[in-house]
Symmetry: C2
Subunit: 301 residues, 2 copies
């Protein structure tokens, strides 16, 4: 199961009824947090996935509403007596996080790695493949995709034909190379048809861009910028480098994603549901993101 | 009216149902915020006293749960197009705030003054007299008192006896010196009996100390440390330099304050009301502080 939770849905400032936008993803023992503005530790406590289990925090960019919750999260990790290394990653400019930590903490009992991601760099965090693309904001800002691969089908006929001992089937199917009675067996000897994995993508603080469509292509779930619901706010969206519901719905449609969640609402957007038709008329499978909305994605049968 | 609002009641970390401890006071056009941990901007929004109106932020000390909400509050002030100078004050070590601001902000369009308060320094912020005393924590930490003075009674007999023209009475009573028809009139010519002003005091993160009793003496309202409700946690309180309900109730009693509000609860103290008797058995007029609890203090008739 590939679990995702949208921790908050606000942009710019946390509101009494809306945490700042942040995403957490969990797959096969690996947990990644994306952005942490002021207060993100609160929904993280509610979620109860734990602070120690977070392997990496990714940042889309370094505006205050995406980073100022980091000290509180580090404090929670210290409280939980974390010893494992934490990786902080994002576009160029990550020294702002290092500087903030140096100002606020005398010493931290676990290692922190600061990693600037090159544009388009692909990396594996546990079994999650993370890709990025620059999007279009007032500062350098990345959109991210998160993919988990699925093993090919087990081809029982092929295994039988090649006289693979049954006791080796499971290890081979799970990608291990096995030496047995003087012979070497490789996974391709039992693998059949390729199978589609799962893909979640995430982008806030951007105007619509071609690069984003390319990144999020065929996602099972795309979580995207919903700063303005009303099409009348298009001018404001252009001026401030954000997007409207309908613009993001167009992106989702172009990229042929399965489902779209909107998030990162302007504080002025008190009731996003009011404008849902501006998105669903373009991309029907749009959901108005809500704080602590969870989805567990499964491989199709 | 001297208005005070306890914005939050948590210690260490903000909880889903409890903001971090912070106090705001307002009198005669002057507003002072005391401490701002992660998320304090949220109850401040709920309160609707405005971000621009805050003249000064006082800090008891510089632990994360008392300072990391400052960037969010500065951001709100920028958003509100503040131009007035903001004063940040606290014990020695205030450079941590300056450094944090320098890391997170490129430029701020209003002036910020950083002022380290000497132990026992008395200062006037508007019509509020602020006093401090060092308390007993793991780092330098101040308790504060906030006093508003009341003018003496108007002594009509005295004014008549001295032949003060009636048209000057109001100005003189309000403390002005008036020159009229070649004669100088001073307020003492109309002032009668002294009258008690109002006093609010505030202290968290401390063991009980004599200096605190002296500072808060005769307060109309004392807002004090309630980290642990159960007397069984005394050892923990001693170890971590905090106080129990009963210890703070003793302080309130010794200082002969009128009313005590407890705050700064440990995250482990889920239901502080459960332990109220540990305080009321010592100091009956104890109130279990709650987020956004407001009191408007008036001069006695």
């Amino acid at each position: 199961m590939f679990d995702v939770c949208l921790l908050g849905t606000g942009g710019m400032v946390p509101l009494p009824y809306r945490y700042l936008t942040s995403l957490i993803l969990r797959y096969n023992g690996t947990t990644i947090l994306v952005d942490c503005g002021e207060g993100t530790q609160i929904p993280l406590q509610e979620l109860r996935w734990g602070f120690k289990s977070i392997n990496a925090v990714l940042f889309t960019h370094y505006h205050g509403d995406h980073i100022t919750g980091l000290p509180g999260i580090l404090y929670q990790m210290l409280n939980a007596e974390r010893t494992e290394k934490l990786i902080l990653m994002g576009p160029k400019g990550i020294s702002i996080l290092e500087n903030m930590i140096n100002v606020l903490f005398k010493n931290i009992s676990f290692d922190i790695e600061f990693k600037e991601l090159a544009e388009g760099e692909v990396l594996n965090i546990g079994d999650i493949v993370v890709k990025n693309t620059p999007v279009w904001h007032t500062v350098t800002c990345y959109g991210y995709s998160f993919e988990v691969k699925r093993l090919p089908e087990f081809d029982v006929e092929k295994a039988k034909k090649l006289n693979i001992p049954v006791k080796l089937w499971n290890a081979l199917q799970h990608g291990q190379v096995v030496q047995y009675e003087g012979r070497i067996y490789t996974p391709d000897m039992v693998w059949g048809k390729e199978r589609k994995g799962l893909k979640v993508s995430y982008s806030t603080d951007t105007r619509p861009t071609k690069s984003l469509i390319d990144l999020i292509k065929e996602s099972d779930l795309f979580i995207g910028e919903g700063m303005y619901g009303d099409d009348k706010d298009l001018e404001k969206a252009i001026e401030k480098c954000h997007s409207t519901f309908s613009e993001t719905a167009h992106i989702a449609k172009e990229a042929n994603v399965t489902e779209l969640w909107l998030t990162h609402y302007s504080p002025s957007l008190v009731n996003p549901v009011k404008f849902i038709k501006n998105a669903t008329s373009i991309f029907p499978n749009t959901v108005i993101g809500k704080d602590l909305m969870i989805k567990s994605l499964k491989f199709s049968p």
